[in-house]
Symmetry: C2
Subunit: 552 residues, 2 copies
């Protein structure tokens, strides 16, 4: 499906108009159909900001004028270091709308990485949120192509930037008084619109350059019934960052569907989330598993519930059964798994709560909720063995997952990686199984699989089971060197606050649930685990730290 071709000639072409799929048309449609729908943001200034789609459109037009006045040219990369707020949404649409490229940078990366990425992208302007201004100090002198810095703040909050820095501007001052309409240009839909780098979980981040076409097609799929199921009744809160994987396309999909959009700004704590969910009556929220652990920890300690919330859509890492169950039993929230990666738009698979699924016995339903779901229309996926042969969809044979389709990347930005992009497929680096019904489940990352005595052990499987122990808050399994077996699993556990837990209990708990030879050689209780800026476990850091544990 959606095979990749070099476009050839054809004996007879259809007579459809030569319309281009353009990102700005999402916003134009949104404001035509739902002018009064709201976008609510927690601002860095501290307050809650609220406006309607129609105001978003007007300010986006003003921003387009401001960008034009700054001499931003088609194809220019415009970098942002910014949280999820309305101003970032305006940047998404205005920058792509004038034919430039919105280049979101992850501010949680190391200053060195940030600097490297902005220089790699050769960004011409940098838009920063108030809270990241101090961060600039660490790398601003090393920026090679940036002409100026625009601070996303009200004029009265504009900080004094050091003189010797680049020229600096205030966002509101720039757009103020500009016309609230704009004559948006039309250009080929394959034009670049957004540049995102990967999480850097397994190494250095890699640049993914999306086109208008890929963003529009992804937005339609994302909003659709096979993925996020958005419509104008949904109140959507993306807890996944717009500075990374475009908040899973939420700023596009939500507006396409007419959903109310609730943007958390820098408020990533359990208390902040709870507040927005409650006051804005959020119905659907997006985020990685750790986010929902954070929310639960808060709700649990404070004895709170979130009755408006019906679904959390969870990707970026595997869905642990413990959390799936907990969210259902305790909060009546449907945990909807998602799989994707920066290179894939990102959304590809999910398991939304169809009538059929909700009619299943709970146990079967949980089993599906801990897969990554089924592929949506538009993307083709397959698993392959090391010889490149497709592996049966029997739910147990595993292979490397490959995907293809109109919003899948065909190469990294300015980086050659032919192994990843062979034969028209994207090799994901994920090892997965697919069952006869099409449900895909990631067994492990290729780099995280533990090779013990010539056989593979899935770290994700052990984590998934461990996470169900009531005393376990978070856990992680890594493979570390072993004199006899090559590698053996090490289990690291962050216990729940104020809980006493003994190693033996964990072993007892795992017994019978995993194969004997999968049993971790050691269980360590730790205070915390390292996460990437997007909330993922950094396993290579742990592997480095514990590498010789079993060798000593």
């Amino acid at each position: 499906m959606f095979e990749v071709t070099t476009t050839g000639s054809s004996p007879l072409l259809g007579n459809a108009q030569q319309s281009q799929l353009m990102v700005i048309d999402i916003l134009r449609h949104a404001v035509r159909r739902h002018p009064q729908q709201e976008i609510v943001s927690r601002r860095l200034e501290g307050d809650i900001h609220r406006y309607q789609y129609q105001h978003c459109y007007q300010r986006t037009c003003q921003l387009a004028h401001a960008l034009t006045d700054l001499d931003v040219q088609p194809g220019d990369r415009i970098a942002t270091l910014a949280w999820n707020t309305y101003r970032h949404v305006e940047l998404y649409y205005a920058v792509s709308g004038i034919g430039a490229v919105i280049h979101t940078v992850n501010p949680r990366l190391l200053a060195d990485q940030i600097q490297w990425i902005i220089n790699d992208a050769e960004a011409s302007w940098l838009f920063v949120d108030l809270s990241f201004v101090p961060l600039l100090e660490e790398f601003v002198h090393q920026l090679k192509t940036v002409k100026g810095i625009v601070v996303l703040a009200d004029p009265e909050h504009q900080p004094e930037l050091a003189r010797q820095w680049l020229p600096s501007y205030n966002y509101e001052a720039l757009i103020q008084g500009k016309p609230t309409t704009f004559a948006w240009p039309v250009f080929p839909e394959h034009t670049a619109a957004m540049l995102c780098y990967t999480s850097g979980t397994t190494g250095n981040p890699k640049g993914v350059l999306s086109s208008h076409r890929s963003i529009v097609l992804h937005a339609q799929a994302a909003a659709g019934p096979e993925l996020l199921q958005l419509d104008s009744d949904v109140v959507l809160m993306p807890m996944v960052a717009m500075y990374h994987v475009g908040a899973w396309g939420a700023p596009y999909a939500a507006l396409l569907a007419g959903s109310k959009l609730v943007l958390p700004g820098a408020g990533m704590s359990g208390a902040d989330m709870y507040e927005l969910i409650t006051t804005e009556q959020v119905t659907v929220a997006l985020g990685v598993p750790t986010i929902w652990l954070t929310l639960h920890n808060h709700l649990h300690t404070q004895q709170l519930t979130v009755p408006s919330l019906t679904r959390v859509c969870v990707g970026g890492a595997a869905s642990p059964l413990g959390l799936v169950k907990l969210y259902h039993e305790r909060y009546q929230v449907y945990w909807q798994p998602i799989w994707g990666m920066t290179e894939t738009g990102p959304l590809v698979t999910s398991a939304p709560p169809t009538r059929e699924l909700m009619a299943l016995p709970l146990k079967q339903r949980y089993a599906i909720q801990t897969t990554a779901g089924r592929a949506c229309f538009g993307v083709d996926m397959e698993i392959f063995d090391s010889e490149g042969q497709p592996v049966p969809h029997d739910g147990s044979s595993s292979g490397e997952l490959k995907v293809r389709g109109p919003w899948i990347t065909s190469s990294y930005y300015r980086r050659d990686d032919p192994e990843v992009f062979k034969d028209g497929w994207l090799a994901t680096g994920d090892i997965a199984v697919i069952d006869p019904h099409g449900y895909m489940k990631v067994i492990d990352r290729k780099k995280d699989l533990i090779k013990s005595g010539g056989e593979w052990i899935s770290s994700l499987d052990i984590e998934n089971i461990t996470s169900q122990h009531p005393a376990v808050n978070e856990c992680c399994v890594i493979g570390v060197k072993h004199p006899k077996w090559d590698e053996r699993p090490l289990l690291l556990i962050v216990p729940n606050q104020n809980t006493d837990i003994r190693k033996e209990e964990i072993y007892q708990f795992l017994e019978g649930k995993i194969a004997k030879w999968w049993m971790p050689d050691e269980v360590l209780l730790v205070d915390s685990l390292p996460h990437t800026g997007t909330g993922k476990l950094i396993k290579h850091e742990l592997r480095d730290k514990y590498l010789n544990l079993f060798m000593e």
Copy 2:
């Protein structure tokens, strides 16, 4: 939105894969995701046929082999004279899948028109349903390019075709034993996939040639929440013909969404519809207003209800308030208006039952249900005055409706019509208003507007009001020549069975509901009104007949 361009160059292209949007991928996705979903057909052989998506796919592959064996080439037009059945669905996918063009012909047209259309299209093969075999006699000798005729029937029902005719084949015999997989080719998405002619309501039918891209994008929009709102829980019965406007794209949209598809075959009577709705538990049905009048007439006479049915999606003609109300009050069925034309894919606007709409007072809701709805994402629409200036969206200023977007036609097949295709818009020939919320309403066709003393009278408005009189089954308003006023309205009424109705009652009923000078000069009671093959009033026939009524 979705403006039309000549594709130019661009400073920076995105790195998305060069995937082509292909019609066959809809079926491949359907069978991957919902292998066991059903397609149920009333066959011409007389029985009800039932199979699953997976069987549809297998037979479509077999058919692709059979077509290849018949030496069907990419770009070839394959004509059908066929009802809505599973075999026709197979033809839709297999023909386009191998790169040829499925060319549906309306068998309700005059034999002369049919023959003209097939020759105009230069079709190489003709697939006919059993019931249309007798029709062949009238024109088969005049076919210039057709190499053979394939009868869609079980072998034991295969009719003896006259020797001197073209070579004839049996569909089942052709596909029997062929492999149930097929290596579908990939080709550019702008390749032609389907050729449909317009209804011929206002003159001769005109050919509309769709591409794979336009069909896939239309299918996604059609299945989406702004148009048909399909998902895997929906049981869809298209009462609009696959031989015309592709049954509004239902064979694509339903499979894309995983809906159960119920195909009525030749069963267009109220009793036939009732039977399928009831036995198959149809939830959503598609058709022109007269179809729902037919169904109501049957239900009414037989004192029946249709509890499974939740929505009828109604386009092709304006939605009369009388029927909208009746379907709600009597059957608890939501009448969902749709606007479109063969040239527009066909679906463009609708008013699905959103939570917001259903919360309105009934009167306001009915007012919206008698518009044509709002434009979906993907299509841009505007109304223009005779000078080509856009007209305000105030709900009362009218102008010619123009549309543009990726599934709108840019020219007719082998026919020059520059007036219709100017400046990147399609001029629809419909005169419409758009209200501030974006709801569009067709006032009349340009050709049906009545010009009385220099002012316009909307025939649709008068029909809409008249239709609410309890004694009126169907009605029609046309403009006929008048010595003083140029044209004056004439109202034709088909009364309900066994009802007595007097002209004066109608005048009384209209009083105060329409402007005095709109009052028809004459009301005639008639036994029936002429319809096109797709169930539309043929006004030009009536105009010809009554042209001089007021002149005599």
